[in-house]
């Protein structure tokens, strides 16, 4: 596991990371999201110690990597494997040679190397490409090799820095599936740095939002999308643009609060309220815990008391809120003010 405490990185007077805390357990994928400029890549470079943090600690398996000497650091690095953006394979080495590279630095015997490379290439489904050069492989295949290389030294932490950037959706999902398999089989702690919310929703167990160098929101993905309308929640489960006006009468925002919402809720609520319900926009997905997450805009075509409507939805595990909700790309101070959204959404400040 990895535990990052009060990690701060300054370049002169510019503070890029400001007291970042998070911990990732073995067998967990923790996503760090944020817009470009939020400090994501600096965080990645601090975690694998390509940059020395100004202060704070990075504990991997109980050992503080920031306190090691240069020599000690070299061997301690094997505890953290890195999967780089666009794989960053060496162009003049074959797939097998790329995977073997980290092992060459640590004097691992030739026989052991060959055996391990074979095993890793097999694991990522790339055995048939062992002798191919990166230029002969697709982006997805290259990233599979990148994953195998990141795992070459049997790390307990795998840092994946934008591993799916530039890949098409289908390839992205196959890489994510592989990442989840590796998490489960090898019990590695995965730190996934990304700006793609689909990636987080599909594969992450927990998510933290980095904003101007601070983690301002965090929680398990399921909790975030089911129990808040925060900016992160709206980014993770975005509401498609609907046809409703902002303050149109009878418009309600719905959010699945439970994983086991009865899929037939629409008809059952309509029957209970004796009202037609129009669906104006909606997104319902199965997330990583196997349950459903949903966000919809509906219009109730009959004048009813708000409490009655709220109760009808609440009994089915759906949170209902009158009026339109701001989309993820618009600030919505009102939503956050109305609901201090439980303890899981903590402000780092």
């Amino acid at each position: 596991m990895i535990e990052v405490t009060a990690l701060t990185k300054r370049y002169g007077s510019l503070t890029v990371l400001d007291g970042v805390d998070f911990a990732v357990q073995a067998g967990e994928i923790a996503a760090v999201v944020g817009p470009s400029g939020a400090g994501k890549s600096t965080l990645a470079r601090c975690i694998n110690l390509l940059e020395k943090p100004t202060s704070g600690s990075i504990l991997v398996d109980g050992k503080d990597l920031t306190r090691l000497s240069r020599g000690e650091l070299r061997s301690a690095r094997r505890a953290i494997g890195t999967v780089f953006q666009s794989a960053s394979l060496l162009q003049r080495l074959t797939a097998a040679e790329n995977v073997a590279l980290p092992m060459r630095y640590l004097d691992i015997s030739h026989g052991e190397r060959v055996r391990r490379v074979h095993e890793l290439l097999d694991r990522v489904g790339m055995l048939h490409r062992a002798k191919h050069y990166p230029s002969q492989m697709s982006g997805g295949q290259q990233q599979r090799i990148g994953l195998a290389r990141g795992l070459a030294l049997k790390p307990s932490v795998l840092l994946a820095d934008e591993p799916t950037s530039g890949l098409d959706p289908q390839t992205t999902s196959s890489i994510l599936k592989l990442l989840a398999e590796l998490r489960d089989e090898l019990r590695v702690a995965v730190v996934l740095i990304t700006h793609e919310m689909d990636v987080v929703r599909n594969v992450a167990d927990s998510v933290a939002r980095l904003h101007e160098g601070k983690i301002i929101e965090r929680g398990s993905v399921a909790e975030v999308v089911r129990s808040s309308d925060s900016e992160l929640a709206r980014a993770l489960l975005p509401l498609p643009p609907g046809s409703a006006g902002n303050h149109e009468a009878g418009v309600w925002q719905l959010r699945y609060e439970r994983p086991d919402v009865d899929p037939a809720w629409l008809t059952s609520v309509a029957r209970e309220l004796d009202a037609d319900i129009s669906v104006l926009a909606g997104l319902i997905e199965t997330i990583d815990d196997g349950g459903a997450a949903g966000r919809l805009t509906v219009r109730i075509e009959r004048s009813l008391a708000a409490t009655e409507v709220r109760a009808a939805f609440a009994s089915r595990g759906i949170h209902a809120k009158q009026g339109s909700i701001a989309r993820a790309d618009e600030p919505d101070p009102e939503a956050e003010a109305e609901e201090p959204t439980e303890a899981l959404v903590r402000s780092a400040a």
């Binding site: 890195t82 953006q85 630095y105 990166p134």
Partner: protein
Amino acid sequence: MIIATATPWSGVSSLLLPALGQTAAMVGIVMSIVVVLGLPLGLLIFNTSPRGLTPHPQVHASISWIANLGRSLPFLVLMATVIPFTQLVVNTTIGIKAAIIPMSLAGIPFFARLVENAVREIPRTRLDVGIASGASVLQVVRTIQLTEALPGIVAGLSLNIIAMIEYSAIAGAIGAGGLGYLAVNYGYEQFDSHIMISCIVVLVLIVQIVQFGGDRIVRSLTH
């Protein structure tokens, strides 16, 4: 009155072949020195730069300045300037031995810059791959910089060989021998058109062969 007396074609080869041998020897010896010293110098210039593995502004500025010095003088001027140094090192100021000193002094910084450029082309993340996997600086240089930049370095090598062939002709002026010397002394001074034409044809062929061969090697190294 000067009478142009061209060497008969049948006699050309007896002049041309030894000259070709001298050129080859000069360029060969100089290139070995250039690679041995220019390669590490180029790596040092890049790796002490802000984008290198061990940035060091003062060291970078100093060696960069020295390398530029070697490249800023026209070769003929450089050759004349370093005569005392040449005398000191090889104990003569004429002949092949004397030509090797100024040629190396011009060639080393030239090659160092070509190496620096080739290494600079490698994206930073590929170096990070090595560092993050626990490689030492020297391991990153050997397994990543030199490996990835090899096609670029070979391309620089053919460029450098061609430049040295040209310099060897200029070095003919201090009696270094070789094709340039032959062309100037027989072709130019004595209006020997056969020698002149032969020298030109041979020089053009050599340059073409070096460039063509170099390009072929670069292609085979690029994946």
